[in-house]
Symmetry: D2
Subunit: 345 residues, 4 copies
């Protein structure tokens, strides 16, 4: 199956190249960029020397949709709103990694992204690809909207608790921390090495565009969910997200009870690892892999549940989950091309 | 005034040496270590070559209390419980940086530190040196218990809100992140560079010994305070703490209202900087300095207040605040020896 | 083919596990450790949760040599000297990653490693596995001595120049820099995160045990080679080596001439990438992969050749090259199991 | 004495602000920037909140030269060539931190900097401020040219060997490594945190503009000096330079002999610390301070001398040495305002 990557000069794009190049069922067919027509991808990314001979090519939606079996759209939010509809409806299935097709209420998109939304009906038809919780719809998706990195970490951590109503969904607090690649390759003093090194920042306080995405999914699971508090921080690491989540228990449960629920919930999910009680994951323990590792702990003093969830933001938070979804869309094994181990240390 | 440092081979100890060596009012008189009798401090710390000729000397409480005007006790928790009483009661004033004299309920110490507590009456007399909130008692203290690094960041951030009852003190959540020096110089795979680099960990979930210290102070300010949820994470940086704190507002207030309250509260405190609305501090912006920088933001969607507080764990969180307290104990200017700027970048 | 790993709790060991677990031709059969009998490998390395169910098992040479087809020996230098001979001579082929079988002059081993050498005849029979330059002998090796990480980077960079006599082999200077994993998992203040972070150190000046290994190979290529100067530094990164090498040109050549020689030399080597003139590799551009990237530049002012060579010390400098050699020893494709891309960023 | 800083929005500029703000003899009078007229310096650098109330002001040479006693010019190379002459000749003494006044042969400037040089006579009159080796001329300087960061580290390390003719000055190789702040605050993918983190790069191979500066000084000391080989690398740290230097010995000397020579040479220099034999400095051991730490080692196998020299590129390599020179120009104690200890860890 021929796979193309649009937006190949960004971090999501090159991670797709890394994973697709060793995929047994997809063949990396072509890589596109809006701004670098004709430039070899190795000029932007010398680490691909001799292993990715493809040139970056100008985006031609008609040509792409007829020559590719699947298109991964890894352009910035805002660009996909118009591009995805052009790519859809033909031969190619579309997997969109931007935020443009995630919010069913397009007014929410306008408010949080401060950009023009995609066509509401088109967004409505796109399948939200939080794989572990939406496999049936993913199977038949023609246009798939891949979840954001933060929402992936947060939602996989919260899902068993919210769906099973063991926590008070009116009091969920998510304190999330991300590696710098999550901010993209754009340049600013914030990401200057000399200033981010040995530093740690909080940003977009109470304003992050992933808030409505998380709330939308939580509400689908439990419509009593109230607005969440969600904070985002920048870690001095290249990759990785940890979401530390807090909510009051709605039922009397021990750590072991909650742990058993989580273990049972994810027992057939190849990429979710529920850690033993009292063992908590570091982000490096999933680096480079498609795993989401989760720990839970009940604080008996406060009757609050603490949930910790880690992913690699570029893999399970972007390119890896996109391929996991594509695998399902094409009937391949869900883990195809994603069996790489975390790189440690 | 002659200042001595006990426990000079730890990170708190050498930071005291750095700050005391350029202090206009204290003279660094002697440095002590339980295990390194006769070893020049430069053997442990070559960065002190030619500028700290002192040898590490065996601890002799009688000699120390008679020859020093002030003793900074920077030994690990557990060791100060017996040592502090030996050093007290003589000529020297004692500033203890360990956790041994902080918890007035010595049963709490036993429970959280899992060690034998110091004598309850002795602990009772020790003055808790959260400088900005206890200056009057610090002035006359003979034995001062210096706050922990996490409690300093958390309490300075929470104080105006808790004292002025603008938040619901039954629902305080503190998500704290610390640089690796906070874990001390002891060796373990956790602090091995190859494994901590590019990593981020959560640890001691719901079990950190700073929990009762924070609760004790909050209760003094507002006795309705319920147990807090307090999480600690390890950042891949050498120094710095950020505490991100969440609580429901108890009154209707805007960000500007809360900001005004904080600004007013700390207007005369030379080491607390309340940042302008919508500007949030990174930990590097206080590195090497005694500043605590604080930002506040009201989330109108959830009616929760988010408070962000950053310090350098070795300065305002340890050696710097200890010297700030000693300045007050001796009638010096509170900022004496602490005017160094943050080192940036 | 059944592959076993001895010394599986070290960094070389777990990298072997990572690479062998996705190898199409080898099956990871068992993992051994001298000190952790019965401990699941996931207890030491939680990132292997659910993907490496093997327990660490006590080393039993007789059992191992009869049940494995190939044994990777990743124990510290000193331990392999006695263990390798016990493992050899049976069914299993042996690939030794320690330094114990590299120096044909066992007196040199004694001098530089300050340990007892292995039996001289045994060492003599071991094939030195600098793959690109010794494929014929590797093919038939029963006991293979895998090169050191620094020697791999240095020798691949120097080989074309030394063999073709374009540089003065009496004046070779190698300035090498390594990530911290190269120092192993042993604990010391040197590798404490708080002290290695934002730091850079030089160590073992003029005393590194890889010096005789490099000289031995250079002399095989050109017996006029004089003792080299070789310096080693520790970089604040987890992985990666750069060797920057200097030697006077022995012939009049331009950068383009030298570049052409290098390109021609390595044109059939899948894991050596000679970079275009004026493009120099960063260590991150090979991270996680088996590549060695090389650049050359002639300084016309001084008539010296500068050669830059980078590898991932745990892959091409250890586990990757070991597997590359094993592939050849068993007649598999040289790149089998090693097609993973560098992980960037 | 009133001190002004021009180019205050760069890293050299804010380091001057940090050091001048606590200087007992200079008062920070005003800060200037070519592009940020009226912007508070705290807007660019929030770490200066409440401690540097000055606004960045447009550069007006006439006003500056009449109101300041000393002007520190920290603008990029190229800008000082025209600005320095405008500032000179009036009341204010000028300390230029750019490279524009360093190369007495202005043709060399043109060749290496690829910019228009300053007036040759003006450059000729500027005193090269390698403090330890030019104090007499510094005393009377009206216009001082502060050395580059790499040259400072390299020259202080080489000086005793070159001046005393103990090394072959026709075969000097300098392998230098710098923290990222040395590249300035300008943005590029090279300094993007996600790509520089866990990375190490070599750059400007055989083309660095500090080459002629080093050669000029070495030739002044020994006119037989041949062109040097000088390589520059970028370390994933914010600050610090290490120069590792190699040259054949010209005389028979032991490490102890060379060590004695270095110790004797620098015995009266407060900022040069010659380390004990076999002890080598890490860059963190001088971070934040004006020290240059030096170690020497003779390799008896090759008869080469290895010299290691470390500085903080922003202090001894820029702002610190500039102030050290200004102290001498004004008759203050050489160490005035520079007594800060290294910040460790």
């Amino acid at each position: 199956m021929k796979a193309s990557v649009i937006g190949a000069s960004g971090y999501g794009g090159i991670e797709l190249i890394r994973l697709l190049s060793n995929h047994p069922d997809f063949e990396l067919h072509a890589v596109y960029s809006s701004s670098k027509d004709g430039v070899p991808v190795t000029e932007e990314y010398p680490h691909l020397a001799e292993i990715c001979p493809l040139p970056l090519t100008k985006i031609d939606a008609e040509e792409i949709k007829s020559t590719s079996d699947v298109v991964f759209l890894a352009v910035p939010s805002g660009a996909a709103a118009s591009l995805a509809p052009q790519l859809a409806g033909g031969h190619a299935k579309v997997v969109d990694l931007s935020g443009d097709l995630r919010l069913k209420e397009t007014e929410d998109y306008k408010k949080w992204y401060k950009k023009e939304p995609a066509d509401k009906a088109f967004v409505s038809d796109a399948v939200y690809g939080l794989t572990e919780w939406n496999r049936e719809n993913v199977k038949t998706a023609k246009v798939l909207s891949n979840p954001g990195c933060y929402p992936t970490a947060a939602l996989l951590g919260l899902a068993p608790a919210v769906k099973n109503k063991i926590i008070d969904v009116k009091n969920i607090i998510i304190d999330a921390k991300s590696g710098v690649s999550g901010a993209g390759r754009g340049l600013s003093p914030i990401v200057h090495f000399a200033e981010m090194n040995d530093n740690f920042r909080i940003y977009k306080v109470n304003e992050h565009q992933h808030i409505p995405e998380i709330e939308q999914q939580l509400t689908w699971w439990n419509d009593e969910t109230a607005p969440i508090t969600f904070s985002t921080h920048l870690l001095p690491v290249s990759r990785g997200i940890m979401a530390t989540m807090y909510a009051p228990l709605a039922k009397e449960m021990t750590t072991d009870d909650v742990h058993a629920l989580y273990t049972e919930t994810y027992k057939n999910d190849p990429f979710v690892r529920v850690r033993p009680s009292k063992q908590f994951p570091g982000i490096k323990e999933v680096a480079g892999s498609n795993y989401c590792d989760i720990s839970v702990d009940v604080d008996t003093r406060t009757n609050r549940l603490v949930i910790v969830s880690v992913i690699d933001n570029l893999v399970k938070g972007a390119a890896g989950q996109a391929i996991q979804n594509a695998n399902i869309m094409f009937g391949f094994d869900e883990t195809s091309g994603l069996k790489g181990f975390p790189m440690y240390p």
